[in-house]
Symmetry: C2
Subunit: 217 residues, 2 copies
């Protein structure tokens, strides 16, 4: 029972309508077509009216990005953990790429800007702790990778070293799938090739290399 007053329900509905309109515009006409006036027109508002619900266009975009990260994480979490670790990590990585291919505009929106930081000042220590907690937030796609790598270590398939722990390996894995996804939706957008094979083989090579993990660089 939310027990919301009617005015609050109206507010929430409009709030969501703005986001939905913004998503539609991005999906249909691209990010460049996203303007406050265009959003307003879709939901029969004036541009000025939107500022009752969002402080700025940037805030609308940030909200959409947060939801995008959740959708990305959901897609990756959908991979069955019953799979053997090798297939599990592979399919998780492929899910990351699949999201990018299916939602290139949102993906680029999410990953071409540095993440927004809270306005207040903070010490480097605090900042680092905040970033680390955001990285491992429950809605973070990275967390899925992180847990997957952790599982591989627990199962004894992936070796660890004092200077190369879960975090370091997971960041490497993230970089790999991110690069595959990013290049495919930008530079290789119109390029024709068997991306699926490249992705699988590249992921495989990285995985097998991880299982070795000798000592010297």
């Amino acid at each position: 029972m939310p027990a919301l007053k009617p005015s609050e329900r109206r507010y929430q509905r409009t709030h969501e309508a703005i986001l939905e309109a913004a998503r539609q515009i991005i999906h249909e006409d691209g990010v460049n077509a996203l303007s406050m006036r265009a959003i307003a027109q879709r939901i029969d508002y004036s541009a000025a009216g939107l500022y009752e619900y969002f402080a700025s266009k940037e805030e609308i975009i940030e909200t959409i990005c947060r939801q995008g990260h959740r959708r990305l994480k959901d897609g990756m979490a959908r991979v069955s953990t019953d799979l053997p670790i090798r297939e599990y990590l592979r399919d998780t990585g492929l899910a990351y790429i699949e999201f990018a291919v299916q939602n290139p505009d949102f993906f680029l929106l999410m990953f071409t800007k540095a993440p927004p930081l809270p306005p207040g000042e903070m010490s480097p220590k605090e900042l680092q702790a905040l970033l680390e907690s955001e990285l491992l937030d429950e809605n973070s796609a990275f967390l899925v990778l992180f847990n997957g790598i952790q599982r591989g270590i627990n199962e004894g398939v992936l070796p660890v070293r004092p200077d190369l722990g879960v975090m370091e390996i997971a960041l490497g894995a993230w970089s790999l799938v991110h690069g595959l996804a990013m290049l495919r939706v930008t530079f290789l957008q119109s390029f024709q090739t068997d991306f699926a094979r490249i992705e699988r083989e590249t992921l495989r090579a990285f995985y097998e290399g991880l299982t070795l993990n000798r000592d010297r660089n």
Copy 2:
């Protein structure tokens, strides 16, 4: 002996001054601060005057991006080919990342938009051929990677399969270094960690995995 007429020399000089001013603005105040009026002010022109030299702001940016690709390629080509293949490929990848870290604004400018296509229509065949030739252009950073992989194959260190040739392996390698670079200048911008170690270890794992290259996915 260029044998340019004085007017042509003047034209070239202004042409270059515009690009230089644009580069400075991007470097000092970021991409968002780049405007036609800001460029004009730096070189004592009016905004309208710039259109004698560039058809649009987009054309200025494209030119800067092309030069950026050349600089990126030069940085990678600076790695000594006397190095053993393993170290050569590693340092080439690290050079790619180093460029991104030293020039994050330019790097993002170069790789967050799909490459500009010539306006004329063309068949899918022609388009594919054009993209492939651009990918392997002499000023393409990818070409350095491509040649490096090719060398590894020639030396018998990297195995090839009918369905996984130089191009496919090189695209995978590109994706890997691109992801490492991209994440570092965007999402992990303020994050503190031993990036150098992660990069070396990730590249190492991928390389070692490549040398195995079994048959099934």
